[in-house]
C-alpha cells in the first residue's frame, strides 16, 4: 500500500459520483476537442491553400460573371504561368437531392493544370478530354453516390435551365493531393455548358484562376490583373487563394473568437464542477483527514491526498474523452462534415497537439480545482476535524 494508492482508492468511494464526474470531464474534453477542431479545420484550410494561385472574379460579387475574353487577357500577362476558368454549375442529382456537392464547369485544356492538387491519371484525363459529356469527380462523392466510371449521371440546376436534362458520363475520379482540397467536387467541360446555353448567356465565365511564376508576388500579380480591366465596363477583383481564405476567416472572425472563448469557458465550467465534487467528498471525509493528521500525517500529505484524487479523476476523464472523442470527431462527425460540407471542412481531423493539450488541461484543471478544498481541509485544526462526523 502507498499514499498515492490510498488517494486513488478514495476516488472509488462513491462510484456513482466518480462515474458522473469522470463522464463530465470526458464530455468537456470532447466538446473542447470538437470546437478546437472546427477552428483548426478552418485555419488549416487557409494554411494549406495553394500559395501560387490567384483567383479573379467580378468586382461586385462572385455571382456575377465575366466575359470569356478576360481569360485570354489574363493568360497573356507575363507574370501568369497558366490560367483556367470555371463556372459554378450548382448541380444536383435528382435521385439524391439531399446530397450537396460542388459542381464546376472548367476549361478542358487548363482545368487540371491549374487545379493540380486534384490529381487525375494522364490516361483518364485523356479519355475525359475526348468525351464532351465527361466528368471527373472526387473520390468521396463517387463512393457516396456509387458512381462508377462509365456511369451516366443526370444533374439538375437552377442556374442554367436547359431543354432536356444535363447528361454526363463519369470519366474518372480525382484524388486530393492536399488536405485543403474538397473531395466531393464534380468537374465537367466548360464547353459542354457553353454550347447548351442560349445566345445571350454564352461566353460568360464565373472566375479565372491563374498560377503565377513567383508565389511571393501573388498579391502583386492580383493587382496587375485588376489593372488590366480597370478601364473596362466590368472590373475585377483578384486575390491569391491564401488572401481569399484569410478574408473568409476575417469575415467570420467573430464566430472564430466566440468558438475560441466557448472552448475555454467549457473547461472553466468543468473545473468548477470538479472543484465542487472534490469539495463535497472532502467535506464528507473531514473526519478521516483529522485521523490521518492525528496519526502524524502532515498538512502537505492531506493536500497531496486530495490533489492526487482529483488528478486521478482528471486522467480518467481525459482518457475517456479522448477515447470517445477520436472516433466521434474524426470517424463520425468529421467524416460527415468532409463528405457533406467538404467545401467548408475539407479536412476535419483532431490536431494531435490539441489532444495532448486537452489531456494536460484535464489533469491540470482537476489539480487546480482541488487546491482550494485541499488547503482548507489541511488548514482545519486536527482536533476540530476529528470532531466532524460525516
Amino acid at each position: 500500500m502507498t499514499l498515492v494508492g490510498l488517494a486513488a482508492r478514495n476516488v472509488l468511494r462513491n462510484k456513482f459520483r466518480a462515474a458522473l464526474t469522470v463522464a463530465g470531464v470526458a464530455v468537456a474534453i470532447i466538446t473542447f476537442l470538437l470546437l478546437r477542431t472546427v477552428l483548426w479545420a478552418w485555419t488549416a484550410a487557409a494554411d494549406y491553400a495553394a500559395k501560387d494561385r490567384v483567383v479573379t472574379r467580378h468586382k461586385v460579387t462572385f455571382i456575377m460573371t465575366l466575359p470569356l475574353s478576360y481569360a485570354q487577357s489574363v493568360r497573356s500577362l507575363p507574370q501568369v504561368k497558366a490560367s483556367t476558368f470555371c463556372n459554378w454549375f450548382g448541380g444536383k442529382d435528382p435521385k439524391h437531392d439531399k446530397e450537396f456537392f460542388g459542381s464546376l464547369a472548367c476549361d478542358t485544356e487548363t482545368g487540371f493544370t491549374v487545379y493540380d492538387d486534384m490529381v487525375v491519371p494522364p490516361d483518364v484525363l485523356d479519355q475525359w478530354k475526348h468525351d464532351a459529356q465527361g466528368a471527373i469527380v472526387g473520390d468521396v462523392i463517387a463512393k457516396k453516390m456509387n458512381w462508377k466510371v462509365g456511369d451516366r449521371v443526370t444533374l439538375q440546376t437552377g442556374i442554367y435551365p436547359k431543354e432536356g436534362d444535363w447528361e454526363f458520363r463519369i470519366s474518372g475520379i480525382y484524388q486530393a493531393k492536399s488536405k485543403a482540397v474538397d473531395r466531393s467536387t464534380f468537374i465537367f467541360h466548360w464547353k459542354y455548358l457553353n454550347d447548351n446555353l442560349p445566345a445571350n448567356r454564352k461566353d460568360q465565365i464565373g472566375w479565372i484562376v491563374s498560377r503565377v511564376h513567383d508565389p511571393s508576388q501573388a498579391a502583386g500579380v492580383g493587382v496587375a490583373i485588376d489593372k488590366v480591366f480597370d478601364e473596362k465596363e466590368i472590373q475585377t477583383l483578384s486575390q491569391d487563394e491564401r488572401a481569399f481564405n484569410a478574408s473568409f476567416l476575417a469575415s467570420i472572425s467573430a464566430v472564430l473568437t466566440a468558438i475560441n472563448i466557448i472552448s475555454v469557458v467549457i473547461l472553466v465550467i468543468m473545473a468548477l464542477v470538479l472543484g465542487n465534487t472534490i469539495a463535497m467528498g472532502v467535506r464528507e471525509r473531514t473526519n478521516e483527514y483529522g485521523v490521518l493528521k492525528a496519526l502524524g500525517f502532515s498538512n502537505k500529505h492531506v493536500v497531496m491526498f486530495i490533489v492526487v484524487e482529483a488528478i486521478v479523476i482528471g486522467v480518467a476523464g481525459g482518457l475517456l474523452g479522448l477515447a470517445i472523442g477520436y472516433p466521434f470527431i474524426e470517424g463520425g462527425l468529421g467524416r460527415f462534415l468532409e463528405e457533406n460540407m467538404g467545401s467548408f471542412f475539407p479536412y476535419f481531423k483532431i490536431d494531435p497537439r490539441m489532444s495532448v493539450l486537452a489531456m494536460f488541461l484535464a489533469v491540470a484543471l482537476a489539480a487546480a480545482a482541488s487546491v482550494i478544498p485541499a488547503i482548507s481541509a489541511a488548514r482545519l485544526k486536527t482536533v476540530d476535524a476529528l470532531k466532524r462526523i460525516a
Binding site: M1, L292, L295, G296, N299, V383
Partner: protein, 238 residues
Amino acid sequence: MDTATEKAPASHRDKAEALVSLRGIVKIYERGGEQLKILDGLDLEIAKGSYEALMGPSGSGKSTLLNLIAGLDRPTAGSIDIGGKRIDQLNESQLARWRADTIGFIFQSYNLMPVLTAVENVELPLLLTKVPSSERRQRAQTALRVVGLEDRMDHFPRQLSGGQEQRVAIARAIVNDPALIVADEPTGDLDRKSADDILGILEQLNRELGKTIVMVTHDPAAAERAKVIRRLDKGQLK
C-alpha cells in the same frame, strides 16, 4: 471520590521516571466572544509504564487534556514535557512528526479508513517511517496477531464488528511501537463483552509489553482495570 485512586506503588511519582509531565496547564476556548477556561492550572505526571484512567463528568475537559498530552492541541499556558521533550513549543509540522514517532491513538469511534483492509489500516502509520515496504506488511500482521485478528487481515472495516474494528485500531496504535498510547473512550461505542475484550488487550499491552497508556473513560468498570484513576473536575485533577 475526591482524590486520585492509586492501586499501584507510588513509584510513578519519581520525577526521573515520569514519561509525561504537565505543569500549570491552562486551556481557554473562546466561543461567541466568551472565554471558557476548561483547564485551570493543571499539573500532571504520568510514570513510564503506567496505565491511567481519566474520569470526570461530560464536558469537564477530559478529551481536551488527552489531546494536549497527545500533541494534538496546544495549551493556552503551561508546559508539556513528554519523554524529555517540550512539545508545547513545537510548531504544527514538528508536532505531526512527533506524534507519528511517539503516540498511538485509539478513538471512541475506531476511525479506520473504510477504503483500506484491516492490515492496510494497521500499515498506515508505517508509511510515515523509514520501514521498508516489505517489512511494513509483516509488522502490521504481527500487530494484528497481538490483538487476535490474524484471521481478519484482509477484511474491510465494514465487514468487521465494532469490537473487531477497535482491535484493528489498537493494532494500528501499537504498530509503530509508540512511547505512549492514548485512548479516548475506547469502549464507549461497544457492548459489555467487546468492551471487556478491548480492556483485556489494553491491560495486556501494559502488563506484558510495558506500554504506557492514558485512557479517558466514564465507565467505572473500565477505569477499574487501570493502575491509576484520576478525576478531572472544574479544570483541575483531583
